[in-house]
Every structure is written in structure tokens, then in C-alpha cells.
């Protein structure tokens, strides 16, 4: 349980004690002590307000089927007594009928590194995605050491695809935990609407135009993902591979302090646009696409894959590919990232994760592969069809007719399996069917049997009963119907 005012205090202390919290003006010079003091005063004021208000920020959020929401902490679940829930101000444990629970937000979770020599993301016939390490591919089953549930055996008929992942991908950044290391700046051109991002538990929040940036030492190929929610209009500019930690005025970039070329991804309520910003060159518009989905909602999960060497930038919204910019994209030169809120209203950014990218796109195939054999999709887009005979850290072997065919694992984007009937979910007589979002971004569907003392006992359809550490779960969504074939 966290008290908001405590975080504000911590933030204030961090600001004072850590020189890396650096407030700068747009021109790139350190601000005078007066501006710094004003910012501190503003933060102290906000902290003081929250302190006076004594708002206890409970860690979990329960949403019931009738739309009710309740902060608190999930303490237990079993089919008989339902969901056990507590709050700091509740007297006794509250109990809710399992059938009337919709979702439970369990808060930000740290991603977990996959250990092993054959890391992969599996997509199952019911739409689940699991991260882990392939132990062995057998004739009828895949032995898999999953991050969330440990060793499991998955019948081959349940597999929809395997996306190999590189074993040595490093996590660059994992979760917003404070202001330390970030550079906050206002957006001078916004005039009176200029403000600053502020830190709230696990998130940055801005109510006025503001910039927050950090040199994350982005690798040459990077995956960056975060959740964003907004009130009012969305207008978020993300500078990728920038070396400027303060906002750049695109109208007068020639007058800015020297900066290296970067990509400016501009996500608006109705569209997405990518600019290439180089100080000596004219602005280059690399392409715009209408994204009407953002006009109908107030939150989204953003995933950006970028490659300096391949000069590619890809955007997915809520896991769906929106656009890949790959044609005529010049090279960016910096290694930092900057988020500039330039919309009207409030915005919140959370669950920011940055990691190396191996160049493979983890998206759902738009059309399912059909046929008795498997299809291997390479990173260059080729499709090879054959019987998957073996899978090892270096290569996999396909049997095409009578001819064995080897493909280097690094060339493989994913292996697709023919869709099969989704196995009937285990009878839900003793539990509740649920879908969970996992720390690494995966999703699993299961029958939740019990939840107690940090462990959940669940039954994975077609796989069996396993134990899951509840700290690995980010969200639980309770389902009415057995999961259908996903895609």
C-alpha cells in the first residue's frame, strides 16, 4: 500500500538530492535557482495538498461487472467464498461474488528475463501468448519452461505460432519508479499552457504541455512500450534516438542548440505521423496514417520497434500493427528518448519498458496458415512450408516433401501452425475462467482455482494445473465464456 503524499515527499527529496534530476529550459541551459525553486514549490504544494488530503493509494483496482470500481488489495480467491478484498479503511475482509467480478488491475510488475538457450514467445490457439524457453520439441508436444508457470507441456495442436527470441536481449529500462535520471522541461512555445510532467506512483502525469526525457542509451535496435491514458485531446510527440533532453521547436529548429537527428513520432487523437528531424535539413515527413481508434478511447498500449541500422520504425497500438516506416527513412543519431505532451488536457504514461529488439515483429499473422505442415516466416518475409522436424538454438529443420531444409534460427520471425479446434476449456465448475496479462506482456487464459499467499492455482486449458506467482500478473480479467480461438 502506498500513500500518495509519501511519494510526493520522495520525489521532492530525489529532486533535491540527486543531481541527475535536471530541470532545463528549452534552450538547453540549466535553469536558474529561481525556476528550480518555483518547481520545487509547485511540487511541495502538490505534495502538501495530497498530504493534507491523506489519500491512501491502494495498490489494486477492482472493476465489477456493473461498472463499479474499488481500490484495495486482492487477498484471496476461491470458488466458494469468492474474492477477498481489503482496504486500509475497511473493517474486515470484503467478499465479492466471483461471478460479478470483471477485472482486477494488479499494478505495475517487473518483467522477468527468460533464461535458457531457446527463448521464444508462443501464441496458442486460444490467443494466449507465453514467454519462456523451449526445452524440447517433440512429435506431439512442446516442452516449455514458461516464465509465468514454470515447466509445462503443450500439446502441439494447441500451438498457433512460435516466435523465437534472441537469448541475449537486454532490458534497458523497466518501469517508471521516480524522477531520478529524467530531465523535465517545459515547452516554451506553449506559453501559459506550459507545465511539467510530475511523478505519481509508477507513472508520469502532465496536465499542461511538458517534456520529459532521458538518455536511455537506446540500443541500435530497440523495443519501447508503454501505457498511455488521457483526458481531453491526445497529442503526444515521442522523440526516438534523440540526444536532446529538452524539446526542440520544429518551427525554429535551426535556432536550437546543436542536436543530433532523431525520429519524431507524433501520436494524435486521429492520426499518427513520423517526422525525421535533422538540424541542417528541412523537416522530412516520413508518412502519416489515420488512426480512428484513438478518437474513440482514452487509453492505449503503445509499442514502438525501431532500428537504426535497418532504418525502420514500427508502431503497434494495443498490439495491432498500425504502420511500419521502412522506405526512405534516414538514420537517426542519438540514443535518448523524449516524451512531449502537447495536447490539451491531462495525460498519464505508465508501464514504460525498453529492451533490445532482435528485429522480429511480434504480431499476429493477419491470415492464419492453413495446411498439414508448418510455415516458417523469415525476418525478410519469406514463407517456407514444411514439417517442422527439429528445433535447436542454432537452427530448425523443415521437411519439405522428402527434402530436409535447415533455417538459421536468427532468420526466423515465427513458425506458424495450422489452426486447430480450440480445446474445450476445463469445466468451470470449480473456479472462474479468467485471462491474465503477464509481466512480460503475454496473456494467458485459465480457470482460477485459488489465490492465496502470493500464489494462484490455475488450470491451463489442455495443459493442466499449475502454480503461478501472483506477482507476475499485471491484470486479471474474468470471462463468462470459454476462450475462443484468438488471432
Amino acid at each position: 500500500m502506498m500513500r500518495a503524499q509519501l511519494h510526493s515527499r520522495e520525489q521532492k527529496l530525489e529532486n533535491v538530492q540527486h543531481p541527475t534530476f535536471n530541470v532545463q529550459r528549452r534552450k538547453g541551459k540549466s535553469v536558474s535557482w529561481k525556476v528550480g525553486a518555483l518547481l520545487c514549490v509547485a511540487m511541495v504544494w502538490m505534495g502538501a495538498a495530497l498530504q493534507a488530503a491523506e489519500v491512501v493509494m491502494e495498490p489494486n483496482l477492482l472493476t465489477l461487472k456493473n461498472g463499479d470500481v474499488l481500490r484495495g488489495k486482492m487477498v484471496s480467491f476461491d470458488p466458494g467464498s469468492g474474492l477477498g478484498w481489503t482496504r486500509s479503511d475497511s473493517i474486515g475482509t470484503m467478499r465479492f461474488e466471483a461471478a460479478k467480478v470483471q477485472t482486477i488491475e494488479l499494478g505495475p510488475v517487473k518483467s522477468v528475463a527468460v533464461s535458457g538457450t531457446m527463448p521464444a514467445r508462443l501464441r496458442l490457439a486460444n490467443g494466449d501468448t507465453l514467454d519462456g524457453n523451449i526445452v524440447a520439441l517433440e512429435t506431439n508436444a512442446l516442452k516449455f519452461d514458461s516464465v509465468c508457470a514454470g515447466p509445462i507441456t503443450i500439446p502441439r495442436e494447441l500451438l498457433r505460432s512460435i516466435s523465437p527470441q534472441s537469448a541475449d536481449l537486454k532490458t534497458v529500462f523497466d518501469g517508471i519508479t521516480g524522477t531520478n535520471g529524467w530531465t523535465f522541461a517545459d515547452v516554451t512555445s506553449a506559453g501559459e499552457d506550459a507545465g511539467y510532467w510530475s511523478y505519481q506512483p509508477g507513472a508520469f502525469v502532465a496536465t499542461k504541455s511538458a517534456s520529459v526525457a532521458r538518455d536511455l542509451k537506446l540500443p541500435d535496435q530497440v523495443t519501447m512500450e508503454f501505457d498511455v491514458s488521457w483526458r481531453g485531446t491526445l497529442n503526444l510527440a515521442i522523440a526516438v534516438y534523440t540526444d536532446s533532453l529538452t524539446p526542440i521547436s520544429l518551427r525554429a529548429k535551426e535556432d536550437e542548440p546543436p542536436f543530433a537527428a532523431f525520429y519524431s513520432l507524433q501520436i494524435n487523437t486521429h492520426s499518427v505521423n513520423l517526422l525525421y528531424v535533422s538540424q541542417p535539413e528541412p523537416l522530412r515527413n516520413l508518412g502519416q496514417i489515420i488512426a480512428p481508434i484513438l478518437g474513440q478511447k482514452n487509453e492505449a498500449h503503445i509499442t514502438i520497434h525501431a532500428s537504426k541500422e535497418r532504418r525502420v520504425l514500427t508502431l503497434l497500438i494495443d498490439g495491432v500493427l498500425v504502420k511500419e516506416w521502412s522506405s526512405g527513412v534516414p538514420a537517426a543519431q542519438g540514443s535518448g528518448v523524449r516524451f512531449v505532451h502537447q495536447g490539451q488536457g491531462s495525460i498519464q504514461m505508465s508501464n514504460l519498458r525498453v529492451r533490445e529488439w532482435d528485429g522480429r515483429l511480434d504480431e499476429v499473422s493477419p491470415t492464419a496458415h492453413v495446411g498439414p505442415d508448418e510455415a516458417v516466416i523469415t525476418v525478410s518475409g519469406e514463407k517456407l512450408v514444411g514439417k517442422l522436424e527439429s528445433y535447436d538454438p542454432a537452427e530448425l529443420q523443415l521437411l519439405t516433401g522428402q527434402t530436409p531444409f535447415k533455417v538459421g534460427l536468427k532468420r526466423v520471425q515465427r513458425i506458424e501452425f495450422s489452426p486447430v479446434k480450440v480445446p474445450a476449456t476445463a469445466p468451470v465448475s470449480n473456479g472462474r475462467l479468467a485471462r491474465a496479462k503477464l509481466a512480460n506482456g503475454g496473456v494467458i487464459t485459465f480457470v482460477l482455482r485459488s489465490w492465496k499467499d502470493g500464489q494462484a492455482t490455475v488450470v491451463l486449458p489442455g495443459i493442466g494445473e499449475v502454480l503461478i506467482k501472483t506477482e507476475l500478473l499485471q491484470q486479471l480479467e474474468f470471462l463468462d465464456e470459454p476462450a475462443k480461438s484468438g488471432g
Binding site: 495538498a49 495530497l50 489519500v55 490539451q344
Partner: protein, 461 residues
């Protein structure tokens, strides 16, 4: 569920309920249902208030909870009661008194002397209060008559083209599709029309007032038609058989920054003017140079977009006296009151009292005896805003308007009573209370801090 389990479950529930009820001194209250409990952290629960131990805890019956929920009052924001009745004589009140502690009391001013003010109220009959606690008095000679307040059910509303276009739930209409929602609200010639809207995505709502067409959004029926978007409001006159005429447009920047707003239109048919207020702030006033053409008594909302969700609630149509509220005057020396008169004059001096329908005001030169019918507003302590709410005080907001703040000592199904700093002990019918607000200072601080609660965009302010 097996019979044995059912019995066990029932016994368990009964035992838990009994235990919880024993903890409450005000036990025995039956939940009214359709109520909403809101907490300071944004949590929001439907159900019913089944018990309240003053200053300690509330007992809440929730439809999804297997046992009643018991919460300390520390983090409560308010209970909103789905069904509330207006106090019986609220329609004849001619004064609104604002007190230092935030009390807003509608009543008839009986008399005022140097120490006390005496008034007839709808909620508690004749009351006396210290004059020093009164901040201002506004005279509402047209009364304070809501011709419609709701929705409390879908009854009386016409939805088109199909019923599910505007879905009614818990005192609100929700829409995610294109369609109209109309009602005859007996629109007075001078009216205040207000409502709360909340939306996802981009807002696109149309509203026709003074229309006879409530079954559908009719561009041929005479009315004044507003187009309300995220950041702007357009108005046009629709004259049957003639066509439409653009009257004006207003930018409302605050609506670009939020996803909810309280809209209010103040319409004066005599002067053909329409004033727009958003979240209590005056935005603009339009005048129809051609005179007021619409003669209907209905209103009709029209959701113009497919997809984004819109919520409409707290719709209120009331008679209006055509006068805008006077602005708080600048600070004056101690003991000086400011009176605004109907002819726009202003009088300053020592208000010695109000007796027999006249206000006695001692100025530097003379003593004025001003008939109260000529007074619009009296500011007792100009320039000194309220409010000084004390910890532990709870505010009851009445259906139809008005509120009192007090320290509750008893809450039951029929009656709520407690100690009010202005009136002493007060006792109210529970059914009159629309909202019961807790932790008033902390709620205010949270609002001012800009603390963002993303959890539930539909929680009312």
C-alpha cells in the same frame, strides 16, 4: 449450489451481517438501493447505505458483495442517493441564504435583527441562525421552481430511433450511437437548463430547446439548437417553415482539457437572449436579433457519433427570474453591508435589520428603508468568501437544491439529525437528501491539487 452449501452460505452471511450491524449504533436501517458510494481515491460503488455510525464507519450493501461492506468514514467522499424527494414546500421559497460554513438554505426571510436571522425553511420549518454566520442573501422572486429534475427513470423520455440508443442506468442516460432523447419539461419563458455530460473520445452532442418535437430530432420544428463539441458550442435558430439561422459560436477551452462538463443555458424569452455557462463559468451570451421564435416546451438531445460513449445526467430545468447572480463585491470596512437593487443600484451601509418587509440600512447620511421586493442581493461581509468547514462535518445536499452542513449524531431510514453550527440541532427526512458529502476539506484539497484519477471517468464531481 447444494442445499447444504446454501444454508451454510446464508448462515455465514447472516452471522457476518449481524456482527457488522452490532457494531453500528444506528443499526436497523434498510438500504434505499440505487445509491452510489464514492471514495476520495476514485472508488465508486452502487448499492445502498444500510448503516452509518457517525464519525466512524458506514455499512454498505453492495449487489456483488456476499456480506455488507463496512468502511471507515476516513476516505468517503459522498453517498449519492438514487431516489430523493424534494422537501414539500421547496417550490415557494423566495430567498437563498449562503452561510460561512457553505450551507445553502432556501427559505422565506421572516426577519433579521442585529444578532439573528429568522427564516422559514422547507426542510426544518422556522429556524434561527446567528446573523454573523450569514454571508449573503439572494432574493428569488420567481421562486426556485424546477420544472424537471432527473432523470430518475427512463419514463417520460422519448428515445429514437430505438430504445437502446440512450440507455438509462442509475440516474443517467448513456449513448454510444446516433439518436435522440427528448422530453416535455414544461419549459418556462425564462429558464435555466442545466445538465452534466461526460464523454470518451470526441464529444458531439446536439440539443434543441423550446421544441415541440421530442420524439425525434427535428430540423423543421422551431427551436434553438446547440451543437456541443469538445471545445466549442454553436447555436442556431430553427424556425419552422423558414429555415435555420446561425446565431453564434463560443469557444470553451476547458472542454478540450476534460471529458466532462456541467452545461447551463439561461434563456430569457422576453429579451431573446441565451447565456452559456460551463462548469459555473460564464462563457458568452447570444441574442436572437429576430426575436424569440420557439414556442415549444420540450428539450431534445441528439447524440451525433457512433462509438464514443456519452453520459448525460443531472438534467435540471428551472424557472429563472432573468437576473444574473451579482458578483461578490469588493471588501468593505467592518460592519458595512452591500445591497444590490432590482434597478441595478447598489446601496452600502449598516444593515440594521429586516422587519416587516423592509430592510433598514444606515448610511453615512441617512437611514434607508428599502422594500425587500426591490432587493436582489445582500452581501453581509463583502469580499470575504466562505467557507470554514470543520473536520467531521458532513454536508447534506437536498433534492431540488440547497444544503446544510452538520455533525451527524443519528442516521436512520426515516430521519437524519445532528448539530448544525448555524441552526443548532437539525432533524431532516432522510428521503430529502440527494447527496451526503464527507471529508469536505480533503475533497476540496484533492480537486485543487489536480490529483488525476484515471480509474473512473464517470465519477461525478
Amino acid at each position: 449450489m447444494s442445499g447444504e452449501r446454501k444454508i451454510k452460505s446464508a448462515l455465514k452471511m447472516w452471522a457476518s451481517s449481524l456482527l457488522a450491524l452490532l457494531c453500528l449504533s444506528s443499526a436497523g436501517v434498510t438500504a434505499r438501493g440505487d445509491d452510489i458510494l464514492q471514495l476520495l481515491d476514485g472508488s465508486s460503488l452502487h448499492g445502498g447505505l444500510s448503516g452509518l455510525e457517525p464519525g466512524k464507519s458506514v455499512m454498505w450493501q453492495h449487489p456483488a458483495a456476499t456480506t455488507p461492506l463496512q468502511l471507515k468514514t476516513d476516505n468517503l467522499r459522498q453517498v449519492r442517493f438514487g431516489k430523493a424527494e424534494k422537501p414539500p414546500v421547496a417550490e415557494n421559497m423566495t430567498c437563498r441564504l449562503m452561510f460561512d460554513n457553505g450551507d445553502e438554505v432556501f427559505g422565506n426571510l421572516v426577519q433579521m435583527d442585529e444578532k439573528t436571522v429568522e427564516l422559514d425553511t422547507a426542510f426544518a420549518g422556522r429556524l434561527k441562525a446567528p446573523r454573523s454566520a450569514v454571508q449573503s442573501i439572494r432574493f428569488l422572486w420567481k421562486g426556485f421552481i424546477p420544472t424537471y429534475e432527473g432523470p430518475s427513470s427512463p419514463d417520460g423520455w422519448a428515445v429514437s430511433p430505438s430504445k437502446d440508443i440512450w440507455r438509462y442506468e442509475d440516474g443517467a442516460f448513456f449513448s454510444t450511437a446516433v439518436g435522440s432523447l427528448g422530453r416535455d419539461v414544461n419549459m418556462p419563458g425564462k429558464a435555466r437548463i442545466s445538465f452534466d455530460i461526460a464523454w470518451t473520445g470526441q464529444l458531439s452532442l446536439a440539443l434543441a430547446i423550446y421544441t415541440d418535437s421530442i420524439e425525434r430530432f427535428d430540423f423543421g420544428a422551431s427551436s434553438y439548437m446547440f451543437y456541443i463539441g469538445s471545445g466549442y458550442v454553436n447555436v442556431q435558430r430553427v424556425q419552422s417553415g423558414v429555415g435555420t439561422t446561425h446565431i453564434g459560436q463560443a469557444q470553451v477551452n476547458s472542454m478540450r482539457e476534460r471529458n466532462k462538463a456541467r452545461m447551463e443555458f439561461r434563456v430569457n424569452r422576453d429579451t431573446a437572449t441565451i447565456a452559456l455557462y460551463v462548469d459555473g463559468e460564464f462563457i458568452t451570451q447570444w441574442r436572437d436579433q429576430g426575436g424569440f421564435v420557439a414556442k415549444g416546451t420540450g428539450i431534445c438531445f441528439f447524440s451525433q457519433r457512433m462509438g464514443p460513449m456519452m453520459r448525460l445526467t443531472n438534467v435540471r430545468v428551472a424557472e429563472w427570474d432573468g437576473r444574473d447572480e451579482a458578483q461578490m463585491p469588493e471588501a468593505k470596512p467592518e460592519g458595512v453591508q452591500v445591497l444590490y437593487l432590482v434597478n441595478s443600484d447598489q446601496a452600502e451601509g449598516e444593515l440594521q435589520g429586516v422587519q416587516e418587509g423592509k430592510a433598514n440600512v444606515k448610511t453615512d447620511f441617512t437611514t434607508l428603508k428599502i422594500p425587500v421586493e426591490r432587493i436582489t442581493d445582500i452581501y453581509m461581509r463583502p469580499g470575504q468568501p466562505m467557507t470554514n468547514v470543520l473536520a467531521g462535518e458532513v454536508r447534506a445536499v437536498f433534492a431540488g437544491g440547497g444544503s446544510v452542513t452538520f455533525t451527524i449524531d443519528k442516521w436512520s431510514q426515516d430521519e437524519v439529525s445532528g448539530q448544525n453550527r448555524n441552526f443548532g440541532r437539525v432533524s431532516l427526512k432522510t428521503a430529502w437528501v440527494r447527496r451526503l458529502q464527507f471529508n469536505l476539506n480533503r475533497a476540496q484539497e484533492l480537486e485543487e491539487s489536480g490529483f488525476l484519477r484515471k480509474d473512473n471517468p464517470w465519477v461525478d464531481e
